[in-house]
Amino acid sequence: MILLVTTAPGGNLPKSARELVTVARQLAGGGPVAAAVIGPESAASQMAEYVPQVYSLSAAELEPARAEAVTAAVQQVAAQAGATTVLMAANRLGQSVAPRVAVRLNAALLEDVIKVSGTAGAYEAVRYSYLSRVTETVRTVGGDATVITVKPNVFPVADAQPGGSVTSVAPQLDATATRVQVGQRSAATGGRVKLEEAGVVVGGGRGFGSAEAFAQVVEPMADALNAGVASTRAVVDAGWRPYAEQVGQTGKSVAPELYIALGISGAVQHLSGMNRSKVIVAINKDADAPIFRIVDYGVVGDVNQVGPALTEAIKAAKGS
């Protein structure tokens, strides 16, 4: 049995959940697929439009999600479903929980995969390594089960196959599972599309010279394109933008259809978070900036001038 696990931020299934359905169906090859939905039961009902057997885990201890509590809940459902393959999105929560689940199930872990095939006990997956410069193939060669985290925004979202049933599961969480106390939380992004789900990403670097200039150029362009906003490490370090926007080795890894790099010089650490984008555009005043080595289209110029001009041109094109 293949079990996919997802949370439901804001009570809704994230896009990554439907991507997991695609992977689960692919691996099941017509066999049974189940889903565990951590969140309100309404989100589990949404999942029942895609997956025949849905386990709904709705408990105060699981909101906000904490690694140990989610791990215990996943272990419980995996046992109940008889699952030997567990799929999660390779977002921060998934990357925090999946290794724990793997240890608990004595499972092999395939991390952040962009392709996966095979059958339980002998999976083969493709993933990136060496700061996303290497594409590697990894095979499971041991363990009683397999835990797989799937890179978001890579697999297509699944079509609906309505008629699934929802089983409510009361998670049995002991004191250990709930010992981490969550204090203040902040959600950094406003109404804008999530960076890791965005088809277009506008990234900004130190080339803007100030936080104000960054916001004045990047935000309108992102709005015009319904794009996510990304920042380099230098920008985040300078306090111009929140960590949640950081793309690179220490931040998020994105691979949108279009990545527009504004005032980004192109340090390897940043490139590792976006070098798999389908089309890359860069605007930078330094013609020798390393970013130009990986662009499809480049403009040598001041981002504070070319940036707004590009936003206007995009608006004009979209309006036509």
Partner: protein
């Protein structure tokens, strides 16, 4: 209290890596201590400098060449080091089972480990280690404060950040933003040569041969068009939009 910082030695981020028939070819590459792990070493030193009675033990699992990275950690301020030496490329879950034995034997109060490894692009070691030890963990930590038998942290989540309080012992995965790591000074580099570096063999830990195996590695860079668009801002912008619409078809 005893702090263990887990280290990896990885190719320098600027190093040009190649792939041969046997996978990534690291011959002639400059290796450095993984930048993500440096934040952990630095944080341990800062906890000591803040007046805590702290012993810092650097712990590494990897081939003989790792010794250089371990010496760097000793030069930065670690008191002693343990090197589980092996040429086996053990997956992070299996590594966690080995490292946990050392941590347990040492009786550490906190383990600091880099949030994501610059060679395998893996974020699994910290959480897996915490699970084997039966400890709580904080991933992607940007701030850390000791508070009696607890540690309070700030860490990044998928859509922002949050603060967590957890009982010690705990595993903390480190990243940029936690601190600004220092450079080792020459006198400290000299002193580090005399610090204790205990060698252990992987065979002592019953590790087995691992749960996953890398069967192929390719350097795959996408073919890029590399077209430079010229002209004044308005002209260049208009041309760029035309190309994105008609040629790249992404607008």
């Amino acid at each position: 209290m005893k702090l263990i910082t887990v280290l990896k030695q990885v190719p320098d981020a600027e190093a040009r890596i190649r792939a041969g028939s046997g996978g990534v070819d690291l011959d002639g590459v400059t290796f450095v201590i993984d930048g993500m792990d440096e934040y952990g070493v630095e944080e341990a030193i800062r906890l000591r400098e803040a007046g805590n009675d702290v012993e810092i033990v650097a712990l590494a699992l990897g081939p003989a060449r790792y010794e250089e990275a371990i010496r760097t950690a000793l030069a930065l301020g670690a008191d002693r080091a343990i090197h589980v030496e092996t040429d086996t490329d053990l997956d992070p879950i299996s590594q966690a089972r080995v490292l946990a034995q050392v941590v347990q034997h040492e009786g550490a109060d906190m383990v600091l480990v880099g949030g994501k490894q610059a060679d395998w692009d893996s974020a699994a070691l910290g959480p897996a280690l915490a699970e084997v030890l039966g400890w709580p963990h904080s991933d992607w930590t940007t701030k850390l404060e000791l508070a009696g038998a607890n540690v309070t942290v700030e860490h990044d989540t998928d859509d922002g950040h949050e603060s967590l309080t957890m009982p010690l012992p705990a595993v903390i995965t480190t990243q940029q933003g936690l601190n600004e790591p220092r450079y080792p000074t020459l006198p400290n580099i000299m002193k580090a040569k005399r610090k204790e570096l205990a060698k252990r063999s992987l065979d002592e830990f019953g590790a087995g041969s691992g749960l996953t195996q890398i069967v192929d590695q390719q350097i795959q860079t996408r073919e890029r068009l590399g077209k430079m668009v010229e002209g004044d801002p308005a002209t260049a912008a208009a041309e760029l939009v035309r190309l994105l619409q008609n040629e790249a078809k992404v607008l």
